[in-house]
Amino acid sequence: MNRIWICAVVAVSAAAVGFASISAASPSPDSHALYASARVGDPAPGFTLTDTKGQTHSLSEYAGKYVVLEWTNHQCPYVAAQYRSGNMQAVQKWAVDHHVVWLTVVSSAPGSQGYVTPEQGEALLKTQHSFATAKLLDPDGTVGHAYGAKTTPDMMVIDPKGVLIYSGAIDDKASTDDADLKTAHNYVKAALEEAMNGEAVKVPTSQPFGCSVKYAH
């Protein structure tokens, strides 16, 4: 596409994304507090959350299985690139085919980018062709903060004993460009494969990249 050279300010285009004000009903944690982060090698914090179908999921019910937690915000460009390129779905499919429980978590506060109602979240699972076991709703950010989830996509892998064995970026590219993702090394898949083979996870943590989780603040 040929863009035209202009010497005038052009605003970034029109039409607001469905964007309401921040809900005053959400609990408002002290924005200066440092939240406890789950550390690799430690037991993963327990939780119970409701999914987009209205069913509850507790970490404890998945004891004996590998569990992946994927923080998401479908409007975040880094998340969008993962789904647009098919990268995220490919790893999800590989994981669930290997009996891994894949839980996508939405910690966006009501009114913030990525927040979804149960119906919207359910519809997205279909339009994104997600292979996730369930999409969990965490609008007050309790579980996100318990894990120290910083970005979308921030990824955590929990082993069958309930120990956190990976925390961080989904891959080594930190890009919103589909072309980069073709050659990305996926840390989540690598961690699962190594752990399933009884090997030490080579990269047990990495700086997560993406949009900040849009917590209530």
Partner: protein, 281 residues
């Protein structure tokens, strides 16, 4: 000539649509250029009220602005020179970037031989990510700078020459000190700076911005103590690494309103880290 261009930024993702998140301007210090004579250009980032954009290391979230030049053969561009960032905290997540207008500076060098007159068009593309605490929005835009070629003295761009020179003078440069040492102690990197006298005029809190992830934690608190001849900084090792970092590199910012004597409000640090714990064992 077009030595100052506003870049028409287009949302590069459907979620990026909405009111403007800010403006990017490409500005040249000169409106005419001469063969072999380097000149500076500024990429002026002006996030809209409430929005911010990101430093070379974006911290816990976000992504750096990128500038891709499509220069004619024989032309050379220098690296982006980044002004010292701000620490931007939301819900315990600490990002590094700019909430106020900021200018990235690049030096462009024309080839040694050029026609003695005419014009040259320099093209490229800028990508940036802007965020508020509630949302992020990526955008990109092409630019096209049109400059006259001269055989004589290049003409300054009156609107921007002095401003670019001022911004370039504020880019952090390596700290000059009597001593500069970094070592690991437990879960911290301890940086010791030795100088001829006190480092700052009044008590206050400096801040160290690591220039890449996996070195110093972006969100855990740093602590500083001062002596009559310098300062000791205790910087928590990144929570996202399992290997002790071997180099401390980044920007150290003086306490607000203060500066490193004669060296500006921010300096760069780039020192190897000795692992004293390994030496003991």
């Amino acid at each position: 000539m077009i030595a100052t261009v506003f870049i028409a930024m287009q949302a590069s993702h459907p979620a990026g649509q909405g009111a403007s998140s800010g403006v990017i301007q490409l500005v040249s210090a000169v409106s005419s250029i001469k063969a072999g004579q380097p000149f500076d250009v500024g990429i002026r980032l002006e996030p809209a009220q409430g929005w911010h954009t990101y430093w070379m290391n974006p911290g816990d979230s976000g992504g750096p602005t990128s500038v891709e030049w499509h220069l004619p053969k024989g032309w050379v561009k220098g690296p982006i020179e980044w002004p010292a960032p701000e620490r931007i905290e939301t819900s315990g997540i600490v990002s590094y970037g700019y909430e106020k207008p900021a200018m990235l500076v690049e030096t462009i060098t024309p080839p040694a031989t050029l026609p003695s007159k005419g014009t040259v068009e320099l093209k490229g593309r800028v990508k940036w990510l802007t965020c508020t605490p509630e949302m992020c929005r990526p955008a990109d835009g092409d630019f096209h700078l049109k400059l006259a070629i001269t055989a004589g003295t290049p003409v300054e761009n009156p609107q921007w020459h002095d401003k670019i020179a001022e911004e370039a003078s504020l880019i952090p440069r390596p700290l000059v000190a009597d001593g500069l040492q970094a070592r690991i102690e437990g879960k911290e990197i301890v940086l010791t700076i030795t100088a001829q006298g006190p480092l700052f005029d009044k008590p206050g809190k400096p801040y160290f911005f690591p220039d890449s992830p996996g070195m110093v934690s972006h969100s855990m608190p740093q602590s500083y103590s001062f002596t009559a001849t310098g300062m000791v900084a205790r910087l928590p090792i990144s929570e996202y690494t399992t290997k002790p970092p071997t180099r401390l590199a980044g920007v150290l910012k003086a306490p607000p309103g203060d500066e490193f004597a004669g060296q500006g409000a921010a300096v760069t640090i780039n020192v190897p880290i000795s692992n004293s714990q390994e030496k003991k064992s």
